[in-house]
Subunit: 468 residues, 2 copies
């Protein structure tokens, strides 16, 4: 490969060969922009940002500190592309929207797709939202308000209202001519929807199918009728699952009467898909706020404290179990030395199981239909690893404290706790899902409570029974 690129050397100097060649935002650029902002050199800032695409400016904005971020918006003023705002979220977006004038935001709204406009307005407080909306032309305002009227995390919030819908008796030629003559089409679209007289979708035709078909053919003849339609109040998680399963480029959204009201595109669904996986990760680790990274230290402290408080409860519960055996520990202090091993191994084995179960629930690979088989598998895994590590830890303990009986006690406790971890790691998320609670939110606390209490109780209890 290097031979080849040397041969073609002078001719393909413009050929990108690495990520850095393709993507402009790197540490050097960030530092240069920071320097320009801090020396208030507006001209330099503008020149540095001019070659960047909106998504790159958005990335730059996220990486900058809060002060620099605001300076950047003030410096760019009207030159700030609204598409940059679309790519931002949470506290960073809220921050910038406060700096921008309501007038500037209002002017941007008509240029955006409905879902994008809704994304911006979601981040504003009611007063500011009203200020902005009062400056938006009436038809755009109505569309945005309709979008905001759907519940958060529903298909209605994800969809855009601009779409192309034609009757089944139109020919391919008519559709193409219609597209050529209509100015106000959506920015991007991948399918033409075919509707009945009551505006209900009865089929769809992908653009590539349309392109391949001769002009006189009727839409009715080439439309796909088995397409997936999304009810407007479907949860975004379910929407994203359907997009992934069927590899959809876009899908029509219908209201309760079956009328076509919008379209969701792949990029919205992909964002939800990644967001949901990330959410599971964050929640399992006790980070409840999706925008934790972007938030101020004070707000981060507050949101994380809730989880730490729950965890304190679990830790105190474990301490109460240990306190039951104070007399035993006083006599055999080796127990205090070894007991964290039992709890920690149980906790870790349980977390492995829990994580796999939570993801499998999210991807619908774990369902009521195979739940018992999976619980069984995890108990087997827990037993097998329990035996392996029981032998290992038993030997370590027996030799360290020259007490074979201590080795046996810790080995038995280890096996019991690893099996408990396998059971708790599957049954807790299954149980939470069953009663309609997100298994990622509360599962870790329950799991740690189980593995700590069982770990300490069995180990210290067996020691009290057999070693005194």
């Amino acid at each position: 490969m290097s031979e080849q690129s040397r041969d073609n050397g002078p001719e393909n100097s413009g050929t990108p060969t690495s990520f850095e060649d393709v993507y402009a935002v790197n540490t050097e650029l960030v530092r240069t922009v920071e320097a320009a902002l801090e020396s208030e050199n507006s001209k330099a800032v503008r020149e540095l940002l001019a070659p960047l695409r909106p998504a790159e400016v958005a990335h730059l904005v996220v990486v900058l500190g809060r002060e620099d971020r605001r300076r950047l918006v003030v410096t760019l003023g009207d030159e700030l592309d609204v598409d940059t705002l679309i790519d931002l979220e949470g506290p960073v977006l809220a921050d910038l929207l406060v700096v921008m004038s309501p007038h500037a935001v209002a002017r941007a709204i008509p240029e955006l797709d409905t879902d994008e406009a809704v994304h911006l307005l979601e981040e504003m407080d009611d007063a500011r939202r009203d200020q902005v909306l009062s400056r938006v032309p009436a038809p755009d305002r109505a569309a945005v308000l309709a979008g905001l009227s759907f519940p958060e995390d529903s298909a209605g919030r994800l969809m855009q209202r601009d779409l192309i819908a034609v009757p089944a008796y139109w020919t391919v030629g008519q559709v193409i001519d219609y597209c050529r003559d209509t100015v106000d089409l959506p920015d991007e679209f991948y399918e033409i929807f075919v509707i009945d007289p009551r505006y209900r979708p009865i089929g769809q035709v992908s653009l590539n199918r349309l392109m391949r078909t001769r002009r006189p053919v009727l839409m009715r003849e080439i439309m796909e009728t088995e397409a997936t339609t999304i009810p407007v109040d479907m949860d975004q998680e379910e929407v994203a699952f359907l997009f992934q399963q069927y590899r959809l480029a876009s899908a029509p959204v219908i209201d309760a009467a079956g009328r076509l009201v919008g379209v969701i595109t792949f990029d919205d669904a992909a964002a939800v898909l990644e967001e949901e996986a990330e959410e599971d990760l964050m929640r399992l680790s006790g980070v409840s706020s999706e925008t934790d990274f972007l938030d101020t230290a004070l707000r981060t402290t507050r949101t994380r404290a809730t989880w730490l408080l729950l965890n304190l409860g679990t830790a105190i519960l474990a301490s109460l179990v240990i306190a039951l055996f104070e007399a035993t520990i006083e006599q055999i202090v080796a127990l205090a030395v070894l007991m964290p091993i039992v709890a920690s191994m149980g906790g870790n084995a349980g977390t492995q199981t829990l994580t796999v179960a939570v993801r499998a629930l999210a991807t619908r690979e774990l369902t009521a239909a195979n739940a018992m088989r999976i619980v069984g598998k995890e108990v087997v895994v827990g037993s097998l690893n329990g035996v392996v590590f029981a032998i290992l830890v038993g030997l370590v303990a027996a030799f360290w404290f020259s007490t074979p009986a201590l080795g046996v006690v810790i080995a038995v406790a280890m096996i019991v706790n690893m099996v408990a971890a396998g059971l708790a790691g599957t049954l807790i998320p299954l149980g939470l899902a069953r009663v309609g609670i997100d298994p990622a939110v509360a599962a870790t606390v329950f799991l740690t409570a189980v593995t700590d209490v069982i770990g300490f109780f069995v180990f210290l209890g067996l020691a009290a029974l057999f070693l005194l």
Copy 2:
């Protein structure tokens, strides 16, 4: 809404209003199929599966047990849609490919896009792969082998080779006629690529742009020239990041000489994006195998044992620290009761920070440019929560054991450990990323080692100094 649907009641009985109306695979279906498979009622199995789409059959296959899964493939025989295989992965796919005859797999290959065929062959051992490939027509075989020759997780593996490339001097009309006349087009495409005489991409035109443009216009006049091109050896994680940033539907892939060699579409990128988020989650919890859920109990036990072994090392390290203070614990057994609280709170606070940092690194929101600012923020968060929980735990300890000095000691240890957790939670992943190691893989072990060692050492050490 319910009012409305009641009004339209009889007319829209076919209108889907929930996920279950849209998606066919549910527990009832799984149970019915299982029963049919177990009673060897092939006709019933076929009838149950007939209305399902390939992705739904794939989902069903995942949820079924191993035996039923194999029975299903044998029952369906040639009726098994190859698109079903494409939607499977890892052990489940490998399992089915073993049951199917090489002939059946070989016959499927020419119908697939290159990336899909590569996906199937990746799961086979060399002998079987050769058996299959020897039955595939030469041109398809060459395309698949070329795909397999790229490194795993590279753009070359993700791309398909079928695409539409035209010269810049063609008119829109010529392109449309070409699409209408060519039989062997890719199944799905979203852009037409414009190439120079050396087959290097110089622009692209989305189908919707093409459709809106009148026939005599030249491709040169409407092509977008700023499109993102992907080097063939770019890592799939970087590819997915670019798709997300720029909301791409598809992107051209080029070789080292800049020639167009393939195209990557949004569905491939979305899958990678979700996979990477899921991988971070799994790795942080010590699950190294991406297909852990689908694997057999034995293989799952083995892959998870590695992590448990590492964790055992950390736990023994913590025990060694405790052992330093055996004499102190013997005199004040309350220390043994309370010490897990300090370690556990540090571990949890550290995990919160670590998780946020690992995801921010993956999404490139955390870079060298803002690393120090983020470390600073986490130290502040750690200090603030440290103080809050120090007061809380200090009071609990002081009253529980009626020893105010014990409360002070645990409070100070708590603050120190929470600050250490903030530092370790950011510096460890940043350090690992710097030396080119995936921060999600090893970070948790290091972090627990830090918070356990510091937690036990500071608490027991202060107790030894001030309480004896």
